[in-house]
């Protein structure tokens, strides 16, 4: 039996926050660094703003444009850069979390087709409480102006 059939459609709709800003988390400065067409791995960056009084935890990210999306942190210790895979992104109540070059980032693996400059890459963020939200990362050569 399809367990989704037990949940009224209205509830499902409510659990899927639109990126227009109805959910507790908003996304800004979301971008992917453009790269040569030959590469298979990209980095995505964004700023997550938790506007709620509860901790919000992102446990997975996916995109129809990539085979796989992982959350990583670049750690530079004694001059050595190391990529550390993260199992989640924890957003403190009313807190801001920045994914930015040289730090936390989305690792976007194996694109289906070349990424075009200014293309908007759809991504879905999944939360620990089962909710999800859609957002977009714009393909850019340089960080957006802050």
């Amino acid at each position: 039996m399809n367990r989704h059939a037990l949940i009224p459609p209205g509830v499902l709709l409510a659990m899927h926050w639109a990126f227009a800003g109805t959910g507790p988390v908003s996304v800004s400065q979301a971008w992917v660094r453009a790269g040569p067409p030959s590469i298979s791995v990209y980095a995505g960056y964004l700023m997550l703003n938790n506007r709620s009084n509860q901790t919000q935890t992102i446990v997975a990210v996916s995109s129809p444009r990539f085979a796989k999306v992982e959350i990583h942190r670049t750690q530079i210790e004694n001059g050595i850069a190391r990529m550390v895979k993260q199992s989640e992104l924890v957003l403190a109540p009313n807190g801001i979390l920045k994914l930015e070059p040289g730090g936390l980032h989305l690792m976007l693996i194996d694109p289906n087709g070349v990424l075009e400059l200014n293309e908007r890459i759809p991504v879905q963020l999944e939360f620990a409480n089962g909710a999800s939200m859609n957002s977009e990362l714009t393909v850019r050569a340089a960080p957006p102006d802050t």
């Binding site: 790269g35 530079i76 001059g79 850069a81 070059p101 690792m107 194996d110």
Partner: protein, 217 residues
């Protein structure tokens, strides 16, 4: 008659001795200064090596298949960075920064010393000359990609203190490499002169490069 003459000679001899000593001291100081920078170079981001570290020879090839060795540093300043084309965050971020720095230096005085930017792969099993060619050209058509057999690459990385360790295996057969994130500055005499640690900001690196290259003569 002889005595007064001797007495009048004595202060003159002393003066000559003092003069010779002063000249000798001055020459010594001058030659000493010639060997090391006149004063410490003031930098904001770079760690300057004093004295510079001359490089031993090595044999690699650039992305066009031309030899790349110690001789390739002669007569120009080289920004040297080590990474791999499957590197998602640090390498594109650093190469973009180097492209900006290069552009900023191009836009400054035309008498800037000649420069090159060289990206050396630490992942030769995946980074072929052809893939490096596409990769570096994306950031700047004049950037050089350099690769070779791993032992040859290590002839260069070891003497520069550059570390690279194959790390985490990804699902699907890929892998990541932990590697030094610093940009090195090699002088026109093929000696390592400065190290820029990450993060690399345009303004401070441009300023430091101009200070370091100006102090070189």
């Amino acid at each position: 008659m002889a005595t007064p003459a001797t007495e009048s000679k004595s202060p003159g001899r002393l003066l000559r001795v003092v003069a010779v000593a002063i000249v000798a001291l001055a020459l010594g100081v001058w030659f000493g200064m010639e060997r090391s920078p006149r004063k410490p170079i003031e930098t904001v981001a770079a760690t300057v090596l004093n004295p510079p570290q001359p490089l031993a020879d090595f044999t690699l090839a650039d992305h066009l298949g031309r030899p790349f060795s110690k001789a390739s540093f002669a007569g120009k300043w080289t920004f040297l960075f080590f990474g791999y084309t499957h590197c998602p965050d640090v390498c594109p971020t650093t190469l973009s920064a180097l492209a900006q720095i290069n552009r900023a230096l191009d836009e400054q005085a035309a008498d800037n010393p000649p420069r090159q930017v060289v990206f050396v792969s630490v992942d030769p099993s995946r980074d072929t000359a052809a893939s490096l060619a596409k990769y570096v050209a994306y950031f700047n058509p004049r950037f050089l990609g350099v690769t070779g057999e791993l032992p040859a690459i290590e002839t260069l990385t070891r003497q520069l203190g550059i570390l690279h360790i194959r790390a985490e295996n990804q699902d699907g057969g890929g892998y990541l490499i932990d590697h030094s994130a610093s940009v090195l500055l090699v002088g026109p005499d093929a000696a390592l002169r400065a190290i820029f640690s990450a993060p690399h900001t345009q303004e401070s690196m441009v300023r430091d490069f101009l200070a370091i290259s100006a102090a070189y003569s």
